[in-house]
Amino acid sequence: MGFSEIFGQRQVISLVGRVIETGRLPHALLFTGPKGVGRSLTAVTVAKALNCLAGIKGDCCDRCPACHKIAKGIHPDVHLLAPEGATLKIDQIRTLTQEAALRPYEGRRKVFILDEAETMTEQAQNALLKTLEEPPGATLLILIAPEASALLPPIASRCSQIRFAPLPESTIAARLQEQGCDEEEAHLLASLAAGSLGRAQELRQSALQEIWDLIDQAIALSPGKTLPVLELTERVVRRKETLSLFLEALLAWCRDLMVSKVTRHEARLVYRRHGAALKRQSERLTLAQLLAMYHTVKQTLDGLGRYANPRLSLEIMFLKLRDLQTA
């Protein structure tokens, strides 16, 4: 797989291709951007292009033994470091430092790819500093992180940062349609995926229909009644796997309400299909109410991220939402 097959990152690809071709490749790169937009794939392709035996300028052939070995992760000069458990540890970095001091075995350049570099412990990051500034010989380090500020400033300052933009929604939607989604579903998934093709594909695998049903019920909670709230909570909590997905979908609904309050363009909605219903609901409520609804869901989502009790949090959220809508 050459650079041409990386999806949707034309600017990055042309930049990287050009630096390799002109021989101005720095010794340390930092790939930033959301997950699932092609950062690791690009890193591996760079490693291939540097070590490919076919000698294509600024790209790789994907057929030679070197390319094959790199694709399989068994090339002796290309190392992929990923977190051991939750973090990238200092021992991994020490091994890297020792390894970097050696000449390449069979390739032209040694490449170290640090995936999820933001998980490096503070010690690990500090241990990397000297190697990152002046790596011995022909070593290239590629760090992958969501953004530069997720790393210590001295680390980021030693790297050339290459920004991977979130993919445009239309691009993701088009790709999903190619893979057999219908247009509405593709749009919905693309908007929920926040610019990450990987996330969109993950979403597609999950039980979305059930979530839409639950959201319909959440919206229809009628004033004054408490029993339906408890029942709904029960149903949502029982599906642990989709809990956060449900909340994010609900957050998107609240966001849509706010957006349809302030603008008439339905194209910007996540739930385009429900444009009319959104409009009706948002017209009944004030902007302050809508913002409060959004924050209620947001708070619950944040709380669950910090191990709040799901059942209690959801009950409170639904009650608040119900009261906000009727206030």
């Binding site: 600017q11 930049l15 050009r18 002109t22 101005r24 490749l25 720095p26 010794h27 970095i93 020490r94 430092t97 010690q123 500090n126 241990a127 500093l129 000297k130 500034e133 002046e134 010989g137 022909a138 953004e147 500020s149 400033p153 001295p154 300052s157 030693r158 790297c159 050339s160 940062q161 290459i162 920004r163 933009a165 979130p166 445009p168 929604e169 691009t171 926040a194 610019g195 004054g224 009644k225 408490t226 029993l227 994010e248 957050l251 998107a252 966001r255 706010m258 957006v259 302030v262 603008t263 008439r264 363009h265 194209a267 910007r268 902007l287 302050a288 913002l291 959004y294 944040d302 991220g305």
Partner: protein
């Protein structure tokens, strides 16, 4: 051979080449000249400003064949070995990977040997803040009195992590962030030497993004040259840094200040649809508003922001109608959002909600506006401008009897008593609260205040002579004659607390409360205790 980045290729090799650290380099040069070089240094400062570089130059200066000299020759074998990182007498230790006490012991064992080639041995401990506490302690004795001809240089970005016992044994040098102008100058020199044409604005943008770190600036320049080739424009820099087009940023800010939330959301939508970087957009917006604030606050904005005079004037014109408090509020919203966006799974929503809130906040009147409106209102009412708050007559007019001399009737008494409390409240707020509980009666020349629930606190407060005088004088002033004030404190009784449920129509029997009824319905329960006499609010 692989490409060497600009930051490495252009690493300064003499003290004079080090940019923006004049106090440090001058001190070191003078010390070398006078032969008063300390044996231990601590170099502290942010990333990419020249700590390690200066340490290496110092090592060269001490070991140069022509020296110790403030200007190392960079020609002799000793200098060249240090530049190449191969010198035996200049040992660079990575403090972050050699953190343990055993590493320090190792180092100490080797201190007794004489320098191999040069006059002195220099140990540079980089990232010194990562050494363990025991490693630092093991170093203390050596650092205080090292063998002759041994020099230590500790470099760190986090001096606060270095124990005070180390600080006190070292000569500490603070490295500062490098000014905008100096960075631009240095970048221009590098670009010329590299035979690359870089536009002035482009250099300015790079320097701004580098935020005081020369290495950052060089890294960015490297990237921009790779991206744009021989001719670098400001647009190329913006593209590499992921900056949003200034028109979009201004349009979004304008929409927020105009209260047009729809437009703002629309702009974010467009940006997301084209794969724009929303974090970068937020930063651009922040920077734009910050510049606006600076321009509005000071006439030296050009210097502070590193902007050309035309750009400052342009910004001034753009934000002529925006008031400072609004900018401030907007900045506060954006700063909160910046933090939140990092953790959010949908940064876009955070941005949208923030912009909508900013647009809404415009609806809140600024303080200046309110004061102006109040003043014009006063003017229309024809009140004298130096008059304070509304006069009592205006307030009490309806309740006051038409004849001022007439003895106070029941309603007149109430009205006057309210006025007394208002006046006392203006002097001592807490007193007015206490007096609110009193029942007032006027008999002849005596005003009697009865406190039904007189506790010790209210009694002792009211009986202070100062308070007594204040109350008496105020009462006399309001009623228009000299009156005596008497207090009457009734002991607090249980009867006062327990209210009669019949007197409070809002209280309802427990079994009729909607919550209770719903609970019964949900759990299909029945009332076991409480029943008839139950009362929702009464304590049991």
């Amino acid at each position: 051979m692989s490409y060497q980045v600009l930051a490495r290729r252009w690493r300064p090799q003499t003290f004079d080449e080090v940019v923006g650290q004049e106090p440090v380099t001058r001190t070191l040069k003078n010390a070398l000249r006078q032969g008063r070089v300390a044996h231990a240094f601590l170099f502290a400062g942010p990333r990419g400003v020249g700590k390690t570089t200066t340490a290496r130059i110092l090592a060269k200066a001490l070991n140069c064949e022509k020296g110790p000299t403030p200007d190392p020759c960079n020609q002799c074998p000793s200098c060249q070995e240090i530049t190449g990182g191969a010198a035996v007498d200049c040992v660079e230790i990575d403090g972050a990977s050699h953190t343990g006490v055993e590493h320090m012991r190792d180092l100490q064992e080797r201190l007794i040997y004489q320098p191999v080639r040069g006059r002195s041995k220099v140990y540079i401990i980089d990232e010194a803040h990562m050494l363990s506490l025991s490693a630092f302690n093991a170093l203390l004795k050596t650092l205080e009195e090292p063998p002759s001809k041994v020099f230590f240089i500790l470099a760190t970005t986090q001096p606060h992590k270095v124990p005070p016992t180390i600080h006190s044994r070292c000569q500490r040098h603070e490295f500062r962030r490098i000014g905008h102008g100096l960075i631009v100058e240095r970048l221009r020199a590098i670009a010329e030497a590299e035979r690359v044409e870089v536009a002035s604005e482009a250099l300015g943008s790079v320097a701004r993004a580098a935020d005081g770190s020369l290495r950052d600036a060089q890294s960015i320049l490297d990237q921009v040259i790779a991206y744009a080739g021989e001719r670098v424009t400001a647009e190329a820099v913006a593209a590499v840094l992921g900056w949003t087009a200034p028109e979009v940023v201004r349009a979004a800010a304008a929409a927020c200040f105009a209260g047009d939330a729809g437009k703002a959301v629309e702009l974010v939508g467009e940006l997301a649809a084209t794969g724009g970087d929303l974090h970068a957009f937020l930063f651009d917006l922040l920077e734009h508003l910050r510049s606006l604030l600076v321009v509005k606050l000071t006439s030296r904005a050009g210097e502070i922001l590193g902007l050309a005079p035309e750009a400052v004037q342009d910004l001034e014109r753009w934000g002529a109608n925006v008031e400072i408090p609004h900018v401030e509020l907007a900045l506060r919203f954006l700063l909160d959002a910046e933090w939140e966006m990092r953790r959010a799974s949908q940064p876009r929503y955070v941005l949208e909600v923030t912009l909508v809130r900013m647009a809404e906040a415009r609806g809140l009147q600024s303080l200046g506006n309110l004061v102006k409106r109040l003043e014009s209102l006063e003017g229309r009412l024809g009140a004298a401008p130096d008059r304070p708050a509304p006069q009592p007559e205006l307030f009490a007019a309806q309740e006051k009897p038409s004849l001022p001399e007439r003895p106070a009737t029941a309603t007149g008494l109430e009205g006057q008593w309210d006025e007394v409390r208002r006046r006392i409240g203006a002097e001592r707020r807490s007193l007015a609260v206490l007096l609110a509980e009193a029942e007032v009666a006027l008999e002849g020349e005596t005003v009697t205040l009865t406190f039904a629930n007189g506790n010790h606190f209210s009694q002792s407060t009211l009986e202070e002579p100062e308070v007594r005088n204040l109350v008496a004088s105020t009462v006399s002033a309001v009623f228009g004659r000299r009156l005596q004030v008497k207090y009457h404190f009734l002991p607090s009784s249980a009867g006062n607390r327990e209210e009669d449920p019949a007197r409070n129509p809002r209280r309802i029997p427990a079994q009729d409360h909607p919550l209770v009824r719903e609970a019964l319905e949900i759990f299909e329960g029945r009332i076991v205790e409480g029943g008839e006499g139950g009362d929702v609010a009464s304590p049991r």
